[in-house]
Symmetry: C2
Subunit: 426 residues, 2 copies
């Protein structure tokens, strides 16, 4: 019962679980700043916030997220009721499930967002933790290019809301439909070859050039097809694609998207035919936002159109387009570009008792709070200089001492800890 | 690749995992209102927000949380690195671990809070879900009664911040030290008997009266001790406790606490010697806030002093006092007392294209957003009445139509959906 003197058998480690972080107030302030910036920007576009369960049945991920994510990277386990569940490694299947459950009632296009944590069993490294936080922004029930244009505009606005200038990042855009046309019609590959080629291109930057070239040759089989693929790769815009592709329906849609983005002032965008996005569920436009700083050249986040997921839950399909920026990559981007504002936590007043004045200290604090002022009390009985030091450390704007003299006179002085100015309170 | 036509082998269920909830925007708005009210109130007291990992090693809970929580109620599993981990079932051990890890650097008293989700494997029922959300508020490094008084004042302020009046709830207070004195000195029990008695009293309201009485008799062994316990139980205040207890150190501390609370205007508080709090780690003052509505008579939340937890992590002990209100019980309380405000999600303007005006619609929306207005676009090409209906459903204040006439004249009218008033925009 009263067991504060019992020593546990083994000492427990004060370190957080591998790949996760403790968010002390100064770290949490950065997190909150990023969350608040996301929230404000997406709500300006009419997106409404939702929340979702931490666990899902594992098969939700097995179906469409790709083997790696469902198989090796999930925190999956069997619950006490013998269900195989996973801590969500991403939000897209969950929000698709939620849309399926209310398919008839939702107001379309349904613009939904969430800010939530996820877990993946990956090797922890810079910018990648096992527990991570993401914004998820999705529009359901809008088939038109306008939905994609507003999605990309929103991604661009998020970057600008953090103070990023257009020379710091680049939005690369491709189309899964265009890739389908390229692999099947233009290159004449069968479904298996097409899948192999897509996965290979997706890993292009992780492979030595000669390995990539040899693997391409192996899949395509003929020099003529290799030459055709090279012609595609050399296209830096839709206009410079080989004729057989540039005139197709998929290219037309991409072209329409770029016209809209240009009219909307989204200038950091470019076509990139090698952009694949790893996940299996994308069906149309895909995009990724890259940090163009050579020191920090990495994908910040991405997204695209995935029209097939809602239909997996036993209802008629609902089209969808969205993206998901992560907290950690955003924080790294902001730090490397010096975009993080001063986020020191503050409190308006530090009310400290001097002598036997604990009760009066608490009472004064309560009075000040009732006026909307945030107040932290100190009833430790520490000396003046220690009280001032602590008030400063806690980010207080002013300090008020409650001593016998103040109580007798009923006059309390608030001293500004930066300027030294004093003013009467209460 | 383009696989939106593939039907999965089995249809996935659109229902959330058992004991968890989908938070659609209207539900999330309630959650956000409760979170924001918590946040605002605790920050007025100078508490600073932290965040914490979702997983902890299981032994963190095994050590102090009590057998039921650590053994039967955790979502525990073995990770791919052979560590036995648990999805956090509560925050107290985690925040104690975090304090231990920075024991030297933290500014004391350290006032910390978090709002986070937890999981316990329990039978889902009204007011109890397997995944649940809690505010955790803790003060570390303050031994004095003032820390407990401010903790209870804060609990009271939270209730008032939700609009609760003092006749809706009651804060019951007890002391583990007093219980220790009562069982060991006043009743002369040994440690085993004392533990049995405490656990029995903790379950008092869940047991038939005759079972409780018989079990008490069995533990206490003599009629004389039973009479002594009855004398304790009949005390409705510290003053009316039997003399042997009322004059002790523990009772003195409780008395001091009640004097402070009275001076601070906390009127809904009363002494309850039968209040035990289930968890093993409490060492001093314990309290629980109860809804006194006979229809909804339940414990809303509780807390207390737990001075032994930080020391489990291999450092010198740091005293602690705190509490943790839950989202679900708070929501039930607010609903049953009609205290929830109107939380319909809104958007300032609904900008809808009429005819072939998609691009101009997106452009107008972007212009309006750049002025700080939140704007949702509709480029579906629906008819007027449908557009208006949808704008209303989405909580828009005004609707703007973008047709050929508007584009030609450059004059756009925003129509208020409630009053019908029109005004010029752009």
């Amino acid at each position: 019962m009263k067991n504060d003197t019992i020593t546990p058998m083994t000492t427990l480690s004060p370190q957080p679980y591998k790949g996760t972080r403790d968010w002390y107030p100064e770290d949490k302030a950065v997190q909150n700043y990023i969350f608040a910036t996301w929230k404000k920007t997406v709500e300006q576009f009419g997106f409404k916030e939702y929340g979702a369960p931490l666990l899902e049945p594992l098969e939700v991920y097995a179906a469409k997220s790709g083997d790696e994510l469902a198989g090796e990277q999930t925190y999956a386990f069997t619950d006490r009721g013998d269900r195989t569940v996973a801590i969500r490694p991403e939000m897209t299947p969950t929000v698709s499930r939620m849309v399926a459950a209310r398919r008839q009632e939702l107001p379309y296009p349904a613009r939904l967002y969430s800010i939530a944590n996820f877990m993946r069993y990956e090797r922890p490294q810079r910018g990648r933790e096992r527990e991570f936080w993401q914004l998820n922004v999705d529009t359901f029930g809008a088939d038109d290019v306008a939905a994609e244009a507003e999605t990309l505009l929103l991604a661009d606005e998020i970057m600008k809301a953090f103070g990023a200038s257009t020379n710091m990042y680049e939005i690369r855009v491709n189309s899964r439909e265009l890739i389908e046309e390229m692999t099947r019609q233009y290159l004449g590959l069968d479904e298996v070859q097409a899948g192999q080629l897509v996965r290979l291109i997706d890993r292009k930057n992780k492979l030595p050039a000669e390995v990539f070239v040899a693997s391409v040759r192996e899949i395509l089989e003929t020099d003529e097809k290799v030459a055709r693929l090279e012609a595609v790769f050399s296209a830096e815009s839709i206009e410079t694609l080989p004729e057989g592709l540039a005139g197709g329906a998929a290219a037309g849609r991409v072209r329409e998207l770029f016209v809209m983005l240009s009219s909307l002032g989204v200038s950091s965008v470019r076509f990139d035919v090698t952009l694949m996005r790893g996940l299996d569920y994308y069906t149309g436009t895909v995009f990724e936002v890259f940090d163009v700083d050579p020191e920090n050249n990495r994908s910040l986040f991405g997204g695209g159109r995935y029209d097939g997921l809602v239909g997996m839950f036993g209802v008629e399909p609902v089209s969808a387009v969205g993206f998901a920026p992560g907290l950690t990559t955003t924080e790294l981007f902001l730090r490397s570009h010096n975009l993080l504002p001063d986020l020191r936590a503050t409190v308006d007043m530090y009310v400290a008792s001097v002598g036997d004045t604990v009760l009066q200290t608490l009472q004064l604090a309560a009075t000040l709070r009732s006026r909307g002022i945030s107040v932290e009390t100190d009833t430790t009985g520490r000396k003046f200089d220690k009280l001032i030091k602590m008030a400063e450390k806690k980010g207080a704007t002013e300090i008020v001492f409650v001593g016998a003299n103040e109580i007798e006179s009923g006059e309390y002085k608030a001293k500004n800890l930066t300027t030294g100015e004093e003013r009467q309170v209460a």
